[in-house]
């Protein structure tokens, strides 16, 4: 059983002001153990909707998802963090939001903090952190707790080059341990550095699969499919 199997997945948003909107339609793919799949697409292509469906944050309008293993979604850097809490307190809060036991988080705390390079700021409230520090902590928490499926959405946008390289290495290490990773970004270069294969989303549809480098040209070209207003 592959960790992640997606069949005919779609999400329709009902808008009061206009026609329904299919943010995602008829997506099918699989991610096996030790595989990374990149999700490429412009803003509004359906990347975040796809990851929200896989994480169980929103319910699909069609199709199904089969997940085997624990899922660690990182859809927004530190979505569950609280500015008044210290870095340490937020690590435990973030771990609990990912459904992890305090014991497990405590045993990984040193690794998490070392990866984020925030040893000196561990007991400083998060409101004093820069956005880069925020991302480092969030990425470190999501990638240092036991999980079989990792969902990463556009989280490295505010990270500096050095930390990006560190994250790419971390993702490669996780993949070699057999994790399945889904990595969404509008940056084909970044996707290419992690993934051998990627999906290209446009207007809520999967319009291409293949090597990230090959998809990049299409990503930069004109819009690929017609507007995604619902027909039913």
């Amino acid at each position: 059983m592959k960790p992640l199997v997606v069949r005919g997945l779609g999400k329709r948003y009902r808008l009061e002001q206009s026609d329904d909107l299919w943010a995602l339609r008829d997506a099918s793919f699989e991610v096996g153990e030790g595989q990374v799949l990149g999700i490429l697409g412009r803003n509004g292509a359906g990347k975040t909707t796809l990851l929200k469906l896989l994480a169980g944050i929103t319910e699909p309008s069609e199709g199904e998802v089969e997940l085997t293993g624990r899922v660690a979604p990182l859809l927004e850097a530190g979505a569950g963090f609280h500015p008044e809490l210290t870095g340490r307190e937020n690590v435990f809060l973030g771990g609990a939001i990912l459904g992890r036991r305090r014991r497990e988080v405590a045993s990984r705390l040193d690794e998490i903090v070392a990866f984020a390079g925030l040893e000196a700021f561990l007991d400083v409230p998060l409101k004093r952190y820069s956005s880069g520090m925020y991302v480092r902590l969030a990425f470190a928490v999501a990638t240092h707790l036991e999980s079989e499926i990792l969902l990463l959405d556009e989280v490295l946008a505010v990270a500096d080059a050095a930390f990006r390289r560190q994250c790419v290495e971390r993702m490669r290490a996780l993949v070699s341990e057999g994790r399945a990773i889904l990595f969404a970004s509008h940056d084909a270069g970044l996707v290419e550095s992690v993934c051998s294969t990627a999906l290209l989303l446009d207007g809520g549809r999967v319009v291409g699969r293949g090597h990230a480098a090959e998809l990049q040209a299409r990503l930069q070209g004109p819009a690929l499919v017609s507007p995604r207003v619902a027909t039913r």
Partner: protein, 275 residues
């Protein structure tokens, strides 16, 4: 990895009518973390910190004692008015505070609801739990006031936990109903403070139930918080507790809980998309 692989199927149009309570129970450590977060966020940025949990009922006790107890001369069942009114304000605070925070819990945590996956019923649950912790913080003031008023404490004091937990349960059940409404109608959050104030005066918190004319006494039976407030007061003051009204309040609370869970589940399915 030693753990058994979890298998999960997410399918369109599938879903239960009630929140997954097993899943919520498994995430109980998150509940504790959320309560901790709420308390830190509420008190750490303040100079006085958790003392605010004490100062609010203390200030209300002073105000009501001066104006109602002193000026108007509202009777207080033979006990000093300050002790009498504080013993009403505290259980009411658990209910009112828990209810209003539970009602606001989805809107206040909108980023979390939209970007993370966890049993969302823990948000209103932690809101109510944190108002119970607030109550615990105010115990020193309660002890002080009882001492100053010369109230003798008996072992019946422990019975006060029953109405107190009932206040929390009522706040949770009704809070679930209201928070479900807030997904579509934020109006609830604007109307709630005024409604709660009205409800407080409709409940014998700052005056004794005996002040209500016999012809209107039946109205009190409709309000489960009457049994909670009276029960709490009687338990602490060492008077006999009437079990009947408390039992009726418990049944009411359970009914609200079931309705609330169903309403919350229906709203939760849309919450990530519409909040």
């Amino acid at each position: 990895m030693t753990t058994v692989a979890q298998h999960r199927l997410i399918r369109a149009g599938r879903g239960s009518r009630l929140p997954d309570l097993v899943e919520a129970w498994q995430a109980r450590e998150l509940l504790a973390q959320l309560v901790r977060r709420d308390l830190i966020a509420r008190y750490r940025p303040t100079l006085l910190g958790a003392a605010w949990a004490i100062l609010q009922p203390a200030a209300a006790t002073v105000v009501f004692s001066l104006f109602l107890g002193g000026l108007v001369g509202v009777p207080s069942d033979g006990f000093p008015y300050p002790a009498f009114v504080l013993l009403g304000l505290l259980p009411w605070g658990v209910f009112g505070g828990g209810l209003s925070r539970a009602a606001a819990s989805l809107v206040a945590n909108a980023p979390l609801v939209g970007k993370a996956s966890f049993p969302r019923v823990l948000l209103p649950a932690s809101a109510v739990a944190s108002s119970l912790v607030d109550f615990a913080f105010s115990l020193p003031v309660l002890a002080l006031v009882l001492l100053a008023c010369g109230v003798e404490l008996t072992s019946g004091l422990l019975l006060a936990l029953v109405p107190l937990l009932l206040a929390g349960l009522l706040a949770f059940g009704m809070g679930l109903l209201l928070v479900a409404l807030t997904v579509r109608y934020r109006d609830v959050l604007h109307a709630l403070p005024a409604l709660l104030q009205l409800a407080m005066f409709a409940t014998p918190v700052v005056y004794p139930a005996s002040l209500v004319p016999a012809s209107h006494r039946w109205l009190l039976l409709l309000n489960p918080m009457v049994a909670v407030v009276e029960g709490f007061r009687c338990a602490v003051l060492g008077r006999a507790i009437e079990a009947g009204p408390l039992l009726a309040a418990a049944v009411t609370a359970m009914a609200f809980l079931v309705l609330g869970l169903a309403a919350f589940r229906a709203a939760e399915r849309r919450a990530a998309d519409t909040l």
